[in-house]
């Protein structure tokens, strides 16, 4: 999902950087003291998750975990993902420094959107709804990331629909895997550390 350097045109890179800066500013503003440790942990998880990859035909896809990061952090996903991506670019040469902005937006924006869409459902009475919401969060965060990636690539590879179809199709397995992983994490956290989940303080206290 990381876009390498030298693929995108200048205006795309600049607008990506601007959006990432705005998102990060909002994220840092909303990040309160109690959330810092959580943000760090998830940033670390995101950083390492990219090393777990699933071979798939001519290429391979790796775990992204932006759904889980978004679900647990909300807007703070922006700085967490930015930091992790910067470190991935420096240490693993995944993506690149010039494409950092675009890559941050394409992974963090779906994360934030999924947070607003699915976090209210996490403490639903029926466990099946919770499970479905967590799965959908993992699934759609990757799906939206693929869509944004193809929008960015559109300016260089011309045909949006063919690019989008290819990128989305290539990521279908990882969408399903991410959905399952996110669902497992949510179920596990609900049992063990429910205070990590959003909407915890409002809804359910032990």
């Amino acid at each position: 999902m990381h876009i390498s350097e030298g693929v995108l045109s200048g205006p795309v890179l600049l607008s990506g950087a601007a959006l990432a800066a705005a998102g990060t500013a909002i994220g840092l503003k909303k990040l309160d003291y109690d959330q810092i440790a959580k943000a760090g942990m998830l940033s670390g998880a995101f950083f390492v998750a990219s090393l777990i990859h699933v071979p798939l035909g001519p290429t391979s896809v790796h775990l992204i975990m932006n759904g889980l990061v978004g679900l647990l952090l909300g807007w703070a996903a922006f700085p967490a993902i930015l930091v992790a991506l910067a470190l991935q670019a420096v240490f693993f040469q995944f993506g690149g420094i010039t494409t950092l902005g675009v890559n941050t937006v394409l992974m963090a924006l779906p994360a934030v959107l999924c947070y607003f869409a699915f976090s209210p459902l996490l403490f639903h009475r029926r466990p099946l709804v919770v499970l479905a919401a967590a799965f959908a969060c993992g699934f759609f965060s990757v799906f939206l990331a693929a869509v944004i990636a193809s929008m960015a690539l559109m300016f260089t590879e011309e045909n949006f629909w063919s690019v989008a179809a290819m990128v989305v199709a290539a990521h279908i397995p990882i969408m399903i895997i991410e959905g399952i992983v996110t669902a497992l994490c949510v179920v596990f956290l609900k049992k063990v550390q429910p205070s990590m989940l959003p909407a915890y303080s409002r809804k359910e206290r032990p």
Partner: protein, 205 residues
């Protein structure tokens, strides 16, 4: 009491996962980047493309650009991730690998690297008559550079190419940057440090 027990279990699992990931690193390193390595053998340029975990890039698109950025030729890598072409002209070439979906890498090949290739391309025609005196007009340019007669020059060139091929291959393998454990731990260290910085600036007065 039960809650505390669970919490211990939670941290144990987090650490187990992290350790598990690090154990799988050498074989399971990420593949979100491509490596390209190119070298010259005779008048042929060989290109090798791999993912960081050592798997070959097959069906990757190779484009060869000249110093002005004009595309000279293109093609696809075979199942072993290899591609070869005859150097079309003596120029600073850039070999670009595009493995789809934003995966891209390039390898510069300078004029000097290509020089022997250009020479043998020029002198390949009279090669069978190596004993005969070299035709002066075409051979004079490369011949002037070295004191040896053109035939010997060419033989040395060929022998060197043959002997150096395994060394170049080895270099190609060394050039591939794999994800290392130190990098992973370093990155996690940075994140912990940044958490510290954030906690400092957000602390309650």
């Amino acid at each position: 009491m039960k809650n505390k027990c669970m919490r211990v279990q939670f941290f144990f699992i987090v650490w187990a996962v992290m350790l598990g990931v690090s154990f799988f690193l050498p074989s399971d390193a990420g593949a979100h980047r491509v490596n390209i390595f190119a070298w010259v053998e005779g008048d042929t340029v060989l290109v090798e493309c791999k993912y960081p975990d050592g798997r070959e890039v097959y069906e990757g698109v190779i484009r060869v650009l000249d110093s002005a950025g004009k595309e000279l030729l293109n093609g696809k890598t075979n199942t072993k991730g290899e591609f070869s072409f005859k150097a079309p002209q003596q120029d600073d070439l850039t070999i670009v690998l595009e493995a789809g979906m934003g995966h891209r890498a390039d390898w510069p090949l300078s004029k000097q690297d290509l020089a022997p290739a250009g020479e043998s391309a020029v002198s390949s025609a009279p090669a069978p008559k190596a004993e005969a005196p070299p035709p002066a007009a075409k051979e004079s340019a490369p011949g002037a550079a070295s004191p040896l007669p053109a035939g010997i020059d060419q033989a040395i060139e060929k022998a060197l190419d043959k002997k150096l091929a395994p060394v170049l291959r080895m270099l190609a393998e060394m050039h591939e940057q794999k994800v290392r454990l130190t990098d992973v731990l370093g990155g996690i260290g940075y994140i912990i440090g940044l958490v510290g910085v954030a906690a400092y600036f957000k602390r309650k007065p």
